[in-house]
């Protein structure tokens, strides 16, 4: 017999294939957070003077703030004193100079994840920065990039080698006191990637960072800063996974993008943090602040995200369209299954004249999951002829899940045009039966329909990641029918 609603709901018992733990000796701070911990962090990372002030200022601000409650997600309050704020695989003095010096266990871990760090084995044309718990363990193709003048390195290294460049831009898009999680991140961030593309340079390869949380009871607070100087172009991808653990783990990242005149940044994310088990136990709390400043005229930033993991996702990659004629885009697929909760969307802030933004959001909910789109389109007074187009579609698989849409629009400029379209649909039993009658299993049918639903977003991803994203969606829906 074909899939009934009840069977559909069962289809969603997925298996998380990145859930292994790597046994390593690590330097880990004891749990707890105070100014002393921040000082220790600053010290161990050997950072320039200004960073201590930066971190302490953020920390003091954070202490006056409250965890936000407006999102459509539910979780037990987090005990920030029970979290360890630094964990790094034990290693030689200054960090590995070459792959030979990296703990083979770590190389093995990345290999298992399908991210070999050996340049020979890598997809030609993609440079990778691998962040393991709190530190970057390897960056590939560094020298090749350097020839083009591109800086791609761990942010901790950038702070030591290019302190002025970092100081000029760090916190200029997401200030230390921006929000609760951003303040926490600013106080305690440990590593992440730094990218600088000089004037007129088209980055010769895709850049990517692969984040991996391994240690238990640690938070991952990574910080990414990407600067595209005038007339430059870069495409950047981020991927993430974590072991299966029964406790929830905190991931509070901040990503800042700056595009100067005529520059373009394409930022793609395939997020697959451990989502928790089928009963909702464990999983990553993914509380992320991502924001781009299209500071220059004719600049463009495009966010593409495929969010399949995490127990809770709280994330709104945004564009501040400061420069005249600048363009912001947001393409998103958020899939929630079992007891996952996602509250995600974007903010497009139109400041410059003739600024344009496009938002395409696809939310898929299965099992008992809750999926919320929350978006803000704001057109300030000076943004003459600003335009926004928003399309927001939700797809339900089964009847125990929920989809919610909260579009906010604030327009202060009469010449602005803001369009919003929204749909909600459900994979019906008749659709599934039809596909089965043509020979497809119910599972393949769901996967096919979901992939079809996401097509507009997938076509924005770089080729090889589009394939990965499709496979991931299939995997995430495994077991969701008959």
């Amino acid at each position: 017999m074909s899939a009934s609603a009840k069977e559909i709901e069962q289809l969603i018992g997925k298996e998380y294939k990145q859930g292994f733990v790597t046994e390593l000796e690590a330097d880990t701070f004891p749990p707890g957070l105070d100014e002393g911990v921040i000082y220790k962090l600053w010290k161990i990372k050997n950072e320039p003077e200004f960073m201590l002030e930066y971190r302490l200022k953020a920390f003091r601000h954070w202490q006056t703030m409250k965890s936000p409650e407006w999102a459509f997600v539910k979780f037990e309050p987090i005990d920030y004193q029970a979290v360890s704020y630094y964990s790094a695989p034990k290693r030689k003095e200054d960090g590995p100079k070459s792959l030979d010096e990296i703990d083979p266990q770590i190389l093995e871990a990345y290999k298992k994840l399908g991210i070999p760090l050996d340049e020979q084995e890598r997809l030609a044309g993609v440079a990778v920065d691998a962040v393991f718990d709190s530190v970057s363990v390897a960056t590939t193709f560094k020298s090749k990039l350097k020839e083009a003048g591109v800086i791609f390195c761990p942010i901790s290294e950038a702070l030591r080698e290019y302190p002025e460049l970092v100081q000029q831009y760090l916190g200029s898009v997401v200030p230390t006191g921006d929000n609760f999680f951003a303040a926490l991140n600013s106080a305690v961030f440990t590593d992440g990637s730094f990218v600088y593309i000089p004037k007129g340079v088209r980055c010769p390869m895709e850049l990517s960072t692969y984040f991996r949380i391994n240690a238990a009871n640690t938070g991952q607070f990574e910080r990414t800063l990407i600067i595209a100087d005038e007339g430059s172009h870069v495409s950047y991808l981020e991927g993430c996974t974590a072991p299966m653990r029964d406790e929830n783990q905190l991931h509070a990242a901040v990503v800042e993008l700056i595009a100067l005149d005529n520059a373009e940044i394409k930022y793609s994310t395939v997020q697959n943090w451990y989502p928790g088990d089928k009963d909702g136990k464990g999983g990553i709390y993914n509380f992320v602040t991502k924001r781009a400043d299209c500071r220059g005229e004719n600049s463009k930033v495009s966010w593409t995200q495929v969010e399949t993991g995490s127990a809770i996702t709280w994330k709104y990659p945004s564009c501040v369209l400061t420069g005249n004629n600048s363009i912001g885009e947001f393409y998103s697929v958020a899939l929630t299954n079992n007891y996952q909760q996602a509250d995600t969307g974007t903010k497009m802030i139109h400041i410059g004249k003739n600024t344009r933004s496009t938002i395409i959001s696809k939310g898929i909910s299965a099992g008992h999951a809750q999926n919320t789109y929350r978006g803000l389109v704001k057109v300030l007074k000076g943004a003459e002829n600003a335009r926004n187009y928003t399309q927001c579609d939700s797809l339900l698989v089964g009847d125990k899940c929920g989809a919610h849409t909260f579009p906010y629009v604030e327009v202060k400029q009469p010449s602005a045009q803001v369009e919003h379209e929204a749909t909600t649909s459900k994979i019906s039993e008749d659709q599934l039966f039809f596909c089965q009658q043509r020979g497809l299993s119910a599972e393949d049918a769901v996967s096919m329909i979901v992939n079809g639903f996401c097509k507009e977003v997938f076509k924005e991803l770089p080729m090889e990641f589009a394939v990965e994203a499709q496979a991931l969606l299939g995997l995430s829906l495994e077991g969701s029918v008959g």
């Binding site: 017999m1 074909s2 899939a3 009934s4 649909s425 019906s428 039993e429 008749d430 659709q431 039966f433 039809f434 596909c435 089965q436 009658q437 043509r438 020979g439 497809l440 299993s441 119910a442 393949d444 096919m448 329909i449 992939n451 079809g452 639903f453 996401c454 097509k455 008959g482």
Partner: protein, 250 residues
């Protein structure tokens, strides 16, 4: 090929089919006619494995296997095809994608390799021509925004590509204009073969003018109340269903 014996089917507590007997041999064409609500679509759904129906009595044997034991996709892969009375729309999934996925799952079941992309294009274009469809339909989402007649034609396209053994057509002729009816009928006739059988549910004689059935059955109140040759359809057209229903009662 197909043997239905004393089939009783209920939806919930409501009996709908009340003792159907039907034998379909390879190469035969059976037409099933009968008033609205008599249980024709129900029979087609039970044969293809839709959920929500309970077989309370009797059995269905397909190629000497118990059909009721098989999952719907297995029935499909074993060669049972249903052209739906009301084809559903699947937004976002192109016709050509569905057809390729369907064909490959059937081929896999038969132990054949996946169809080569070029061969597939050649095959499908030939079938599109056969059904006088515009190739653009291949790239549109399955049935989305198709007119009633286009949906029906699309069902037959799928049948022509998948080459099933037992083809069940549920009112494929309803909603087709006269020219389309001819084209679809020619499509069906072109895939007739000695080892392929058809069960055609219809309300109208005109389909049977183009596709000549070997047998005509009248289904009323969940039972086959009369069977005969092609002439039975003509007689029905003339006298209406009350004629057979009354006869049964009498």
């Amino acid at each position: 090929m197909l043997s239905i014996e004393n089939l009783h089917v209920s939806v919930g507590d409501k009996p709908i089919l009340k003792g159907i007997n039907l034998q379909v041999k390879p190469g035969e064409i059976h037409a099933i006619m009968g008033p609205n609500g008599s249980g024709k679509s129900t029979l087609s759904h039970v044969l293809s494995g839709k959920s929500g129906y309970t077989v309370t009595e009797g059995k269905i044997t397909y190629e000497s296997k118990d059909l009721t034991e098989m999952a719907p996709e297995i029935r499909a892969r074993e060669g049972v095809f249903l052209a739906f009375q009301y084809p559903v729309e699947i937004p976002g999934v192109s016709n050509i994608y569905l057809l390729k996925a369907a064909l490959n799952s059937i081929r896999k079941h038969q132990g054949l390799p996946e169809v080569d992309a070029m061969d597939f294009l050649t095959l499908i274009k030939e079938k599109v021509r056969l059904l006088e469809m515009d190739e653009k339909f291949l790239y549109r989402a399955v049935n989305e925004g198709f007119s009633g007649g286009e949906k029906k034609r699309n069902e037959i396209l799928q049948m022509a590509v998948l080459e099933p053994k037992l083809c069940i057509l549920d009112e494929t002729d309803s909603g087709l204009d006269i020219d389309a009816l001819k084209v679809v009928a020619e499509g069906v006739n072109s895939i007739r073969s000695p080892d392929r059988s058809f069960v055609m549910i219809t309300h109208y004689q005109r389909l049977l003018d183009y596709i000549k059935p070997d047998f005509v059955h009248v289904l009323a109140h969940g039972q086959i109340v009369k069977s005969g040759g092609p002439e039975l359809a003509l007689e029905l057209e003339d006298k209406g269903y009350s004629w057979v229903e009354d006869k049964k009662a009498a």
